[in-house]
């Protein structure tokens, strides 16, 4: 962009034919900054560094779901301005992203509303997360989901959006709304708002506990002991997430951390402030994710 402005300004200095330049200018205005500006002939040579539009998020702009791994671009902890926003990220083995479907209750095109079953084809390691992922096939589609603890190839897992009067005796790996599960079940892949997709309890070995169900809502304890109140129609999977011994692994050497893409922290000794040290404090209040009608309105 900057380069094209400069060259347009310098056009008076060139000896090229005006017809060529104006046609190229028309082409440039259409294509934006991506046009190679050295198509201008007989231009005085100079070096420029225009601010580049990094194609950093281009690999994420895919609308159609696919199970094939997608090539990823690493950010190195940099944000859109190019500066480091998160320290300690960079390098590491190349990874390909497997698109995990976090909407467990996603119906197929013609079969809306009915509970369906899927077969686990393969459980494999995912370089992008601590948990393992499972390829499940049901009907005419295949998708990746987060695998639970005892999931193996050949299992049949059920997904249902129906909340019955009686609580369902759920098997591990099945997905039900919170209102259909008995109190005290270990759950994972929690949705906070129905239909949004699971955002909580997805790491290896984690599980939440369904504490109680209160008229239309359910209260779940997250792995950090924080309690959360959500609508009972939010979908959740039963069981613990796979790769249970993830927190017991020993890195062993600095090199292994570098393979994982973790750069060393700054070696500068810094005086620790009030944030450091063990804290003993009461649990934060329960977070409520429901828009309750306000009492004052009635």
């Amino acid at each position: 962009m900057a380069l094209s402005c400069l060259t347009r300004a310098l056009r008076s200095l060139t000896l090229s034919q005006p017809a060529l330049v104006s046609s190229q200018a028309a082409a440039w205005s259409k294509l934006g900054a991506q046009v190679p500006s050295s198509a201008v002939i007989q231009c005085r040579g100079f070096l420029t560094t225009a601010s580049l539009e990094q194609n950093r998020v281009r690999w994420k702009q895919r609308e159609k779901y696919t199970i094939r791994p997608i090539g990823m671009k690493k950010t190195g902890g940099r944000d859109h301005t190019g500066r480091i926003r998160t320290h300690g990220i960079g390098g590491g083995h190349k990874q390909r992203y497997r698109w995990v479907d976090f909407h467990r209750l996603r119906y197929e095109a013609n079969r809306e509303g009915q509970p369906f079953e899927e077969k686990v084809v393969e459980v494999r390691y995912d370089p992008c997360r601590s948990a393992d992922i499972a390829l499940v096939a049901g009907g005419e589609r295949k998708r990746w989901i987060i695998a639970t603890e005892n999931m193996q190839a050949g299992d049949i897992i059920k997904t249902s959006g129906v909340i019955g009067r009686m609580a369902v005796s759920a098997n591990e790996g099945d997905a039900y709304p919170l209102g259909a599960l008995p109190v005290g079940t270990l759950v994972n892949n929690l949705e906070l708002r129905p239909g949004k997709g699971s955002e909580y309890i997805r790491a290896a070995g984690t599980s939440g506990v369904l504490l109680r169900k209160v008229n239309g809502t359910a209260i779940v304890q997250l792995p950090s002991k924080q309690q959360v109140q959500v609508l009972e129609t939010c979908m959740v999977t039963v069981g613990r997430i796979s790769n249970v011994d993830h927190n017991k692994r020993i890195i062993g050497k600095a090199g292994r951390n570098r393979w994982l893409g973790i750069r060393p922290s700054s070696g500068l000794w810094q005086r620790k402030g009030g944030w450091a040290g063990r804290k003993i404090k009461p649990l934060p209040p329960m977070k409520v994710y429901i828009n309750l009608p306000s009492v004052s309105a009635s």
Binding site: L3, L15, S16, Q17, A19, L20, S23, Q24, A27, L31, G32, Q34, V35, P36, S37, S38, A39, V40, I41, Q42, C43, R44, G45, F46, L47, T48, T49, A50, L52, E53, N55, R58, Q61, F116, E117, E118, K119, V121, A137, G138, G139, E140, R141, K142, I156
Partner: protein, 432 residues
């Protein structure tokens, strides 16, 4: 030179490669005489950016936007005119945009599931058996095995000549260290076929055969509610003037009615098949014209490494073999008996197939007994499948030495003669 350069740059601009860019730069600067050097501090080989979506225009009914369209120049304060869709009044193949799927002439609401040569079916042989309504019988039929053991049907010095053929394919057919898999599997198959064909002196019926490659097969059939099609170029086909004899008798064919097909709930049998809405109905084409002198498909030869982009696992490779053999048989049956589904064919169509990856062979004989494939009951087709028959264990260019001991010697090791005898039996079947 300038206008055509401008046009070339305009058309090539979005698709610039570094080399093309530099050559253009050199040409342009060389033309002007004094060479000016322009370097840019940015990446020159980026991906083409996708077309930016224009800002959404909000249409308020009753409020008409005043645009500067009529004035033919920009006026600050007036709205940008909506882009007019312009179409060429003549047809230019360089700038042709195909219409969306639902506007195509052959668009149908009912989808069709296509199987082509790059399909990798999830459930493997079970899925192929369900789609083709076939009973799978492991092992080759006894008639073929007895054909192999008959000493009249064997080539003189058979073992030695086959070993020479393997050595030629695996070691001698290259100027590099070792030939690549695509090359050696192809060479091996052609060598083995040539060896089988040397029996033409004693079996004159072998002269009425012809090899064909790169022919396009197309068949349609209905399975329950779904329409299924096979399309594609499968492999090497051995045609013959006479059809193959029936493998199983009438009683066995009638007994297949009791066999229950393997269902694999919850996976649908049409998984991994390409779902299309734009297709031609009722295509049935064997790949050859009606007056072709060798109309009957005898054996299909599949190579795992024929398509470098598509790597199929052994199970999926067998599925592809089954589907294309069935496709050839069904196309032949439709030609002979018409496209209306027939419950029992008077003379069942038999087609054989051999698949290989250069070392391991899969043999298959398919007998099409019925073209009435819509229901799950009734007479089924039959298939004899022999999986994973090794021709030899190792063909190493350099010996494998572990702890100063030779574990696997260089050269051909572990030759097994049964694989070639089965290959020969399948080749001679129908001509003995």
């Amino acid at each position: 030179m300038f206008p055509e350069t401008a046009q070339r740059l305009k058309t090539a601009a979005p698709l610039f490669s570094h080399a093309a860019f530099l050559t253009d730069l050199k040409r342009l600067s060389a033309h002007g005489g004094a060479r000016r050097h322009l370097t840019v501090g940015r990446c020159l080989t980026a991906k083409v950016p996708p077309p930016r979506k224009p800002r959404e225009r909000v249409e308020i009914p009753g409020l008409e936007m005043v645009t500067y369209g009529e004035r033919m120049h920009y006026v600050p304060g007036l709205a940008k005119p909506a882009p007019q869709h312009w179409e060429r009044d003549y047809k230019d193949p360089r700038y042709y945009k195909s219409p969306p799927a639902h506007e195509m002439r052959l668009y149908k609401d009912k989808p069709c599931y296509m199987f082509n040569q790059r399909t990798s079916a999830l459930e493997g042989v079970r899925q192929a058996a369900w789609l083709t309504k076939t009973q799978v019988i492991p092992g080759l039929p006894a008639q073929l095995l007895s054909l192999a053991e008959n000493p009249e049907n064997q080539i003189p010095d058979q073992d030695e000549r086959v070993q020479n053929a393997i050595k030629h394919a695996r070691f001698w057919d290259t100027t590099e260290d070792r030939p690549r898999k695509e090359k050696y599997s192809n060479t091996l198959l052609l060598n083995l076929l040539h060896l089988c064909a040397t029996l033409q002196c004693s079996h004159p019926a072998l002269g009425r055969r012809m090899l064909a490659e790169n022919y396009s097969l197309a068949t349609t059939w209905k399975r329950g509610e779904d329409l299924l099609q096979i399309r594609g170029q499968n492999g090497l086909l051995l045609n013959s003037t006479d059809p193959l004899p029936q493998m199983s008798g009438k009683q066995e064919v009638a007994d297949t009615a009791d066999h229950v097909l393997d269902a694999f709930y919850p996976v649908s049998p049409t998984i991994d098949l390409q779902k299309v809405h734009v297709y031609k109905e009722e295509v049935n084409h064997t790949g050859f014209r009606d007056d072709y002198p060798y109309p009957h498909a005898h054996t299909l030869y599949f190579l795992e490494s024929a398509d470098p982009r598509c790597k199929l696992r052994p199970e999926q490779f067998r599925t592809k073999m089954i589907m294309f053999t069935f496709g050839n048989a069904l196309a032949r049956a439709h030609k002979l008996y018409g496209t209306r589904p027939q419950r029992l064919l008077d003379r069942p169509v038999t087609v054989q197939s051999v698949g290989t990856n250069g070392r391991i062979f899969q043999f298959m004989v398919f007998q099409l007994n019925t073209t009435d494939l819509s229901g799950d009951d009734g007479i089924k087709n039959q298939m004899w499948l022999e999986e994973d028959v090794e021709l030899y264990d190792f063909a190493k260019v350099r010996p494998l030495i572990k702890k100063k001991q030779v574990k696997i010697p260089a050269g051909l090791a572990g030759y097994k003669p049964e694989a070639f005898s089965k290959f020969l039996a399948l080749y001679l079947h129908g001509a003995v």
